[in-house]
Amino acid sequence: MKKLFTIILTAVFAATMQSALAQVRIDITQGNVDPMPIAVPDFLGADEGVAELRRDITSVLMNDLDRSGLFSVIDQRAYIEKPEGVNVRPTFANWRIINAQVLVVGEVTELSDGRIQVATRIWDVYSDQQLGAVAFKTPADNWRRAAHKVADFIYKTLTGEDGYFDTRVVFIHETGPKEDRTKRLMIMDQDGANPVPLTDGLNYKALTPRFSPTQQQITYMALFDDRPGQVYLFNIETGEQEQLGTFRGMTFAPRFSPDGRQVLMAIERNGNSDVFKMDLATRRLTRLTADPAIDVSPSMSPDGRRITFTSDRGGTQQIYVMNADGSNQKRITFGEGRYQTPVWSPRGDLIAFTRQYNGRFYIGVIRPDGTGERLLTESYLEEGPTWSPNGRVLMFFRETPTRRDGTGGGASLWSVDLTGRNLRRVRTPGDASDPAWSPLLP
């Protein structure tokens, strides 16, 4: 009996070792970073009422996927098969021929209550399997959001992280000559569609809007001709605006905490500025730094435990990290030049910043422990990075130098992937600066 056992065990062990040793092991270390080829045929739809709509939805979806830089939508003229329906299994060989890795089949139908239903199925062309399916019902005039939601679903299915297409961006719309610019708050979809002014008729000198991570609400510092800069709250849905207390000095660089219940800001008194935290429910203000140097631009980590800010206490403006109560302040950047506007990623793994060095401006990222600094973009003047809600993309603004003849000097919005790839200009109606990215819409 015992012998039998020993024999069996030895055999099992030997077989395990044998199979482990038999294969040739190869390390695959250098993948390509080309966008994944994806086929998106026009959404189907038999109802006459949705004939236009199904093409519009497909177009918005294709634009979202293409702009992400992670997918490359194959030209529809190359398709050799027309999907028969969202519930019909496609002939995968026909999609393999055109090198599509993923196929998206969608259908738009009119519902009896006047709304539309947008159904989508995602197929993995090489494994002949369905990767996911989703359907949204929405009023017909809300088709654009339905398209963004489908794009978000595809993005999440293929990358593992939430998308950012069904989001909006608040920015400063600038008009007029450079010396006397009129600035007003404007909001638009992340792809530049539907721009709407939020503050008309007010003549701001400067504005720094920041989105609440939990609500359709923004906070901003506004500077007018006749009073010191103050921090305001603005409800996008109702248009209501309120000043966050009245302080002796100037309050600026406000930013919401990740739970949306507090606002961090800097308050300047007698030439010195420090970081404060205000509870929105009680309006109680707590001082977090008390250094004679200039401490500004606070931003809280998504777990609410730490805060990053900039300070010139070391001689030049550098990035620091401290606990949420103000303790354990540590400097994390030591590079030449000046570091500004640190923003903690919603994912928590990186802090984005603006760096000014040798007459140039850079947008970069660094880990909260101060390691792995990477500069992603560079230009004559660029600043104010804001994270997409999934922590994958950064939007910022650039200004071009003013030429002698007075031309140039315009500001525009740009986005870049956190890997430094896929730098793109964001479509805006005219000059734009200081973008603030919203959370995913509910």
Partner: protein, 276 residues
């Protein structure tokens, strides 16, 4: 006795368990990328032709005329050497029956002008017939090889097996495989994930003789990936599986060493791409 047996079983199980658990986590050597160096192979036969052609060509006219010609550029001291060098040509002419037989068929049109004429002595052995004979034999040989390729290959495999199977793929074969899979590995979304260096995926693939996948690839660390709850890791797993499927067939390995490349353990490791 019973206690001893129980202890023995438990200890054995513990050893096996430890092997299963720790095997994938054993420290691995640092990754060193082997660059893929493409090589152009020249068949021996091609080389033969190339060397034999110039040897056979110069024969015709030059032989006699060269003596007066050469002296002009090379000056007086040199002439003797070239004269001797040219001598081999007539040698070729004289020994056509043995060696040149193989060369002649291709050269047929060239040598015609002069050399073939000195040979009339051997005419009893009709040269054209001989050539046809050789051609025919060659064709038959080729036909035989085409008809029975698998037999030949299998015999070769068996012999190798008898000697002892093992990892006998050359560095170049491994580099080819690495380059092929890397070309299809779309890592764009992985390198932007948090802590991408941790998203390692190990896939076991088995190949048919034609290089196609013989079975569904197996993710050997699938349990670890699923237990982690890390959705980025899950996506990395899908991307690696997609790369393996996209790149098939892997039809660049030598048929006679099928045993050496019929299965691979592919370790998709993004750490080098993110500089960690």
């Amino acid at each position: 006795m019973r206690f001893g047996l129980l202890t023995s079983i438990l200890l054995h199980l513990a050893v096996i368990g430890a092997a299963f658990v720790s095997w994938p986590f054993l420290p691995r050597p640092d990754l060193v990328s082997e660059p893929y160096i493409p090589l152009e192979l020249i068949r021996e036969a091609d080389l033969d032709l190339k060397t034999s052609v110039p040897a056979a060509r110069p024969e015709p006219e030059p032989v006699e005329e060269e003596k007066p010609d050469l002296p002009e550029p090379v000056v007086e001291e040199e002439p003797p050497a070239p004269v001797e060098e040219k001598k081999p040509d007539p040698v070729v002419e004289e020994k056509p029956k043995e060696a040149p037989v193989i060369i002649e068929p291709e050269k047929k049109p060239d040598p015609k002008p002069t050399p073939p004429k000195p040979k009339p002595k051997d005419d009893e052995l009709n040269f054209d017939d001989l050539q046809k004979l050789i051609d025919k034999e060659r064709q038959e040989e080729t036909a035989r090889v085409v008809e029975t390729p698998s037999e030949t290959v299998e015999t070769a495999d068996q012999t190798r097996q008898a000697i002892g199977a093992g990892d006998r793929l050359t560095a170049s074969d491994k580099a080819k495989m690495k380059a092929a899979v890397e070309r299809c590995w779309n890592a764009g979304s992985i390198i932007g994930a948090p802590e991408p260096e941790k998203l390692r995926v190990e896939i076991l693939i088995e190949l048919n003789r034609d290089g196609s996948l013989a079975a569904q690839p197996k993710v050997t660390n699938a349990l670890q990936i699923n237990l982690s709850g890390n959705r980025f890791w899950k996506v990395a797993e899908q991307q690696a599986l997609r790369a393996v499927a996209n790149c098939a067939p892997y039809d660049f390995f030598p048929q006679d060493r099928y045993n050496d490349w019929k299965s691979f353990l592919l370790n998709f490791d993004p750490s080098e791409m993110v500089g960690r």
